[in-house]
Amino acid sequence: MNLIQWAESPWGQQVPTHIAWSLLWVSAVGGLLFLIVHAAYVSYSAKSRKAHFSGDTAVSSGDSAHLPERVARHSLGARLFHMIMAMAMLALLVTAFLPKVGVRFAWVTYHWIAGIVLTISVIYHIFHATFVLDFWSIWPDSEDLEDASRRLKRALGRPAPPPRKFAKYPLENKLYHLVIMLAGLTAIGTGLFMMKRVETPFFTRNPYLFGDMTWGWMYVLHGLAGVGFVALVTVHIYFAIRPEKLFITKSMIFGWITNIWNSTIRDAGPLPKQRPSRRHRHPNPRACPPRCQPTKSALVALPSSSAMNSCWRMRDRD
């Protein structure tokens, strides 16, 4: 099977024109297979895993006792970004691939409008994550890899220390973000150039901006990123609706998680650096969590992540 469609340019040069659209089905089936295999694995291994990790990551009443009932996880800005980006992404996928499966409509205008929305939201996200949130919280670090190694060893029955509780994002989340970031930036970068080839209010059309070969590879990269998104979005939605992950999904809607869930993670950073409202402000926001007393039914932004980290890591050593 040819993964790329080639054509002969008027100058006799073999140039790529598109990906093979059958890759759309490969991606869709791949995504579905992944979730089937994962669901089966989780379903069949739930008992053994529970026994295996018992005591390592279980929630103790002591973990949550010192936390407020609701712990802020995503700022309003981050949630709005996620919603807008998700809608733009779905619109892009629908407008790109419905015509490929036989649903006919004038898709190009809707597609580039959704692309512009995605681009703006991603630019906002980059600035927000860099200057407002904890930029490094979503990037895999050496501890993630060490924990992954521990988990793998233990899964294979080899001796290894128990993996630590993860921070704001587990390794899977971080890796997913990495892949979707690469695919997203590829699709956006190539898509913006491709807008030079269609009628939009932003650019004067210029199909000769690049040579046929460069344009061809741009279409191929755009297509690869696009079909990749089919699998990535499938997997993302699957994890979003999995029962054990629902608290993360809900936090993306409501912005907070309960203290029980928060105590399953190692640290609370990165937290939005927003000040809690006066009504909900913590009495001693710089104090370590063990000394903190939760307010009643209050939504409280936790202390800075560095303070949390130092306290929780100390406890880990205990």
């Binding site: 054509a7 008027p10 024109t17 006919r104 898709w107 344009w215």
Partner: protein
């Protein structure tokens, strides 16, 4: 222009005798099959070796696709009926004179003897970049060679271009839309009847096709209702060579007047977009007005609103404007009643 080769690539030829057999063959061979009607579009493709189908399904032996039949509400023309038969049919000439007028404007007598009405409305774009086998959008590529600063686009679209700027070359298509004809399709899911207006699609909808026909579908007949029978018709085609050429722009109008007032009208222009363009805004503007020079002028100005000429086809804007004007104003030279 493409190089014409003497020998076309080999293919497996099927000559079914029924529509069911033809559909079964299409179903069996899928996208590898090519449906052949009169062959005047197909053999260009084959001889240029641009299209190389593995299987050709020749419909010439399917008798049920031929002939013109009267129905309770007008006429039904089999898709394989030749243009000459359409031109000569007495009832069509009497009640739907715009159709033989349009059919007679197509190509040459020899081609009309062989060419079918189904093939005429379903023929592919004549853009030479596309016909020359260049990997343009319509051919599945990612560029329109005609829509570039140096592209030769004198015959191309001024309306509804979306990446591809090819135009629909059919002469009978605007006449059929003016008559509010229905296209009868046989698809794997059964029979489907669509308005002629909806039979044609632009590149925004599907850049590789000019009609709604998909692999496995067959146009079997064209039904013309009696709604516009005996109306005042107008058809005019402007081409580079009067003897034999595709339209630069053509216009078809069916009109019912009461006294001098326009009561109903359908106005269609072709050669300006990838599909025949029904000018509904113009129709709405002129209904209830007297058929006069003023109304014609109004219609002409309205018709070209939104037109975007390319580098070399700016002349199509005044051409279209004037053709619409001539279609509306009283006692035009091209009028057939």
């Amino acid at each position: 222009m493409a190089v014409i080769h003497d020998v076309i690539p080999a293919f497996e030829l099927f000559q079914p005798t029924t529509v069911d057999d033809a559909l079964a063959l299409q179903s069996r061979h899928g996208a590898k099959a090519w449906v052949l009607a009169g062959g005047l579009d197909s053999f260009d493709w084959f001889k240029d070796r641009i299209k190389r189908p593995e299987v050709v399904i020749d419909l010439s032996q399917v008798k049920e696709l031929r002939g013109i039949r009267t129905t309770s509400d007008g006429l039904e023309i089999g898709a394989m009926t030749t243009l000459t038969e359409v031109v000569r049919h007495p009832m069509i000439r009497e009640k739907y004179a715009i159709l033989p007028n349009a059919a007679e404007a197509a190509a040459s007598p020899q081609i009309r003897n062989q060419g079918t009405i189904g093939g005429n409305v379903s023929q592919d774009a004549r853009c030479w970049y596309y016909r020359g086998g260049w990997p343009c959008y319509r051919a599945g590529g990612n560029i329109c060679y005609a829509d570039t600063p140096t592209g030769l686009n004198r015959e191309h679209a001024i309306l509804d271009a979306d990446r591809c700027v090819a135009v629909n070359p059919s002469d009978t298509a605007p006449a059929l839309i003016a008559l509010d004809a229905k296209m009868v399709l046989r698809t794997p899911k059964g029979e489907r009847v669509v308005n002629a207006e909806d039979y044609f699609i632009g590149p925004g909808i599907d850049i590789t096709r000019m009609t709604i026909l998909r692999p496995g579908d067959l146009l079997t007949a064209i039904r013309i209702p009696s709604t516009w029978a005996g109306s005042q018709f107008y058809f005019e085609k402007v081409r580079d060579r009067s003897v034999w050429d595709f339209a630069l722009v053509n216009v078809a109008a069916a009109m019912v007047t009461s006294g001098n007032t326009i009561e109903r009208i359908r106005l269609v222009v072709n050669g300006v977009a990838a599909h025949p363009v029904r000018l509904t805004a113009v129709e709405a503007a002129v209904v209830g007005r007297p058929r006069s020079e003023q109304t014609a002028e109004l219609a002409a100005q309205l018709a070209v609103r939104g037109a975007k000429p390319l580098q070399y086809n700016g002349y199509k804007v005044p051409l279209m404007r004037n053709l619409v004007k001539r279609a509306i104003r009283p006692a035009s030279a091209g009028e057939v009643t």
